[in-house]
């Protein structure tokens, strides 16, 4: 068991889902996730598996303190997403989810840059199918933009890896100094982390996926990138300020956003900003903090998106301006969502408290006091938008449109219940979380000073919300992000370029059934990989002719 790569179990599960009748899909996904979780927990610290590849030795499996917590929570969320989407996921959607999970686990257990790139692109290729799985023109357009953004990121990553190999002769995935080649690798990682200003693909695409697809997307793409940054660029000071910018910009958009699933998408940008900032600090404590935050975030953001997805599943709507008054018919969903909301807000007794306190203390202790206060400002916005505004406009107040909420499948509620239990368990017993961190944690979050400080922050944020609540009344609006550059600027430059950002007619959509009918499913990954390789070659050749 020790040498069995957990990603193989998830990728095997993806194949099994495609081969077996649809009714087996739910059980196969859950069992695959459980087997992968068992395989991760059975891995021996320090174990490696190498593979020869055209004269290079690739480390396809590296087990250490940083990779294991990410692999563990990736396998755990696969189980929860499998339960959540038990009755709603289509066959190819479920296979794509399992393949995305396998690719995510592959990234965090990879010991060399080429293996990282392989799993990275597999993750992009399969995760975009989760966006297309919604089968709407908006999802198809958002999926194309998602693919385009990640194509650029993948090309940057591959170009950087090849350049790095040419410079150093090494493919080892270890901490790197910033230079020409590693800058390209960094850009590839930052794009996948949705770092400002490369973030627009995330709130654009995630809310357009299916209810279960969004849960899967939220777990793997940005958190794989957080792992990659922690592995490759710990202590890079630039990341501290990129992270702070992400935390603040994400939270401002979230406060303004009307679509509740897009609101949570902007919050992924914000929360990943906390992790990126901690990675930029680069101390052992801050890497523990970033890892703890990522671990808890996978679970509480998964729960939040499950709650918002349950609203969409039951009502067919996700805009706050069309919701309201759902509490009487969605009490359980509301309570479970609230567990996630209090976790992300860092309330004591919930998972976000020990996770955030660990990373915030490490940032402050390293002398980044300004960054620490700016992140506290973002924390105010988090509680304001996720725990106060979103519940107030979704489950309370008047119904803003005639909405009839249908009953949720029991497996959806069970999945949310398990995620809520995990968040409460880690909040009550922080050692459950701290015990899995890369290095030993000797931090106690439950001191009087820390508890009083966070309670005051949350209480006075609540008072501020009451005072300014009328300013946060939902309106049917849409946010303009940095995607303005490729969605609207072309139209201003000329009619030919305008087609780049324009909506296309439906027949052109690469819907899942059409992909399958046309034999496009095998073609799509090849197209993505081919495009990435060609773009990377252009970059490498360009770099090689530069003086």
């Amino acid at each position: 068991m020790a040498d069995l790569h957990p990603a193989l179990l998830l990728l095997g599960g993806a194949i099994a889902v495609l081969a077996l009748p649809r009714r087996w899909g739910g059980p196969v996904m859950v069992v695959s996730g459980l087997l992968a979780l068992a395989a991760v927990l059975a891995l021996d610290e320090g174990a490696t598996t190498t593979l020869g590849f055209y004269g290079y030795e690739l480390t396809v499996l590296r087990v250490d303190g940083l990779s294991v917590p990410f692999a563990t929570v990736f396998a755990a969320i696969t189980v929860l997403a499998g339960l959540y989407g038990w009755s709603s996921m289509a066959r190819l959607e479920r296979a794509a989810a399992l393949a995305t999970a396998g690719a995510g686990v592959g990234v965090v257990l990879a010991g060399d840059l080429l293996t990282v790139f392989f799993f990275w692109e597999l993750k992009v290729t399969t995760s975009v199918l989760l966006v297309f799985a919604r089968r709407s023109s908006r999802a198809a357009a958002a999926g194309r933009r998602y693919l385009g953004a990640h194509l650029v990121g993948g090309a940057s990553l591959l170009a950087g890896v090849l350049w790095h190999l040419a410079d150093t002769g090494s493919l080892a995935f270890d901490p790197m100094d910033l230079g020409g080649a590693t800058s390209l690798i960094l850009v590839g990682f930052l794009l996948s982390a949705a770092a400002i200003p490369l973030n627009a693909w995330l709130p654009d695409a995630y809310p357009e996926s299916t209810v279960a697809g969004t849960v899967v997307l939220s777990a793997f793409t940005t958190k794989s990138a957080v792992y990659a940054l922690a592995r490759g660029f710990p202590g890079l000071e630039l990341l501290v300020w990129i992270g702070v910018a992400m935390a603040l910009v994400g939270v401002v958009y979230a406060i303004l956003e009307d679509d509740i699933r897009r609101l949570l998408g902007f919050h992924i940008v914000s929360q990943v900003g906390f992790m990126v900032a901690a990675i930029g600090v680069g101390t052992a404590a801050s890497i523990n903090g970033a890892t703890a935050h990522a671990y808890a975030h996978v679970l509480y953001k998964g729960l939040l998106l499950m709650g918002a997805g349950a609203v969409l599943h039951a009502t067919g709507r996700s805009r706050a301006s069309e919701l309201g008054g759902l509490a009487p018919v969605q009490r359980t969903t509301f309570v479970l969502y609230l567990v996630g909301a209090l976790s992300i807000s860092g309330l004591p007794l919930f998972s976000g408290f020990p996770a955030k306190e660990l990373s915030m203390a490490a940032i402050g202790d390293a002398g980044y006091g300004t960054a620490q206060w700016l992140l506290k400002l973002a924390s105010v916005g988090t509680f304001l938008s996720v725990a106060l505004k979103l519940p107030a406009v979704t489950w309370f107040g008047p119904a803003r449109s005639p909405v009839r909420a249908s009953r949720l499948p029991a497996t959806m509620v069970v999945a949310m219940g398990l995620a809520a239990a995990a968040n409460i368990a880690m909040g009550l017993a922080p050692d459950l979380l701290y015990g899995q961190m890369p290095t030993e944690v000797s931090f106690d979050p439950y001191t009087t000073a820390k508890v009083v400080e966070i309670l005051q922050l949350l209480a006075f944020t609540g008072i501020g919300f009451v005072l300014l609540r009328s300013r946060l009344a939902p309106k049917a609006v849409t946010s303009v992000d940095t995607d303005w550059v490729y969605r609207e600027l072309p139209a201003r430059l000329g009619p030919q370029l305008a087609r780049l950002g324009a909506e296309r007619p439906r027949p052109a959509l690469p819907t899942l059934p059409s992909l399958l009918r046309a034999g496009g499913a095998p073609v799509a990954p090849g197209w993505v990989l081919g495009s990435v390789v060609i773009l990377a070659m252009v970059v490498v050749l360009g770099a090689s002719v530069m003086p």
Binding site: S88, A90, R134, R135, S136, S137, R138, A139, A141, A142, R145, T210, V211, V251, V252, Y253, I255, L256, D258, H313, G316, R317, S318, R319, S321, W373, K376, L377, V380, G381, L384, S406, T448, A449, V452, E453, Q456, L457, L458, A459, F460, T461, I463, G464, F465, L467, L468, R471, L472, A476, V477, T478, S479, V480, R487, E488, A491, G501, A502, E503
Partner: protein, 75 residues
């Protein structure tokens, strides 16, 4: 209005008392910080929204309404 101001003032006093009792470095700091932060984020955000950060729904390229969105949201 007066009752609201009085309630906030009482909350601030309680906060200062708690900080004094627990030996916080600057009593009332987190309370004032949080209130200011909410005002900054909400009012500043609204100003940014009015300056072009937000537009009426369905007015961006690629945001055309699609009846399939409603139908397929459940799956």
């Amino acid at each position: 209005m007066i009752r609201t101001v009085a309630a906030v003032a009482v909350a601030l006093v309680v906060s200062v008392v708690v900080d004094l009792a627990t030996g916080a470095a600057v009593p009332g700091r987190m309370a004032l910080f949080s209130l200011s932060a909410v005002a900054l984020l909400v009012l500043g955000g609204k100003r940014l929204a009015a300056a072009g950060l937000q537009r009426p729904a369905g007015t961006r390229p690629g945001e055309l309404g699609d009846p399939a969105d409603e139908v397929t949201a459940h799956g």
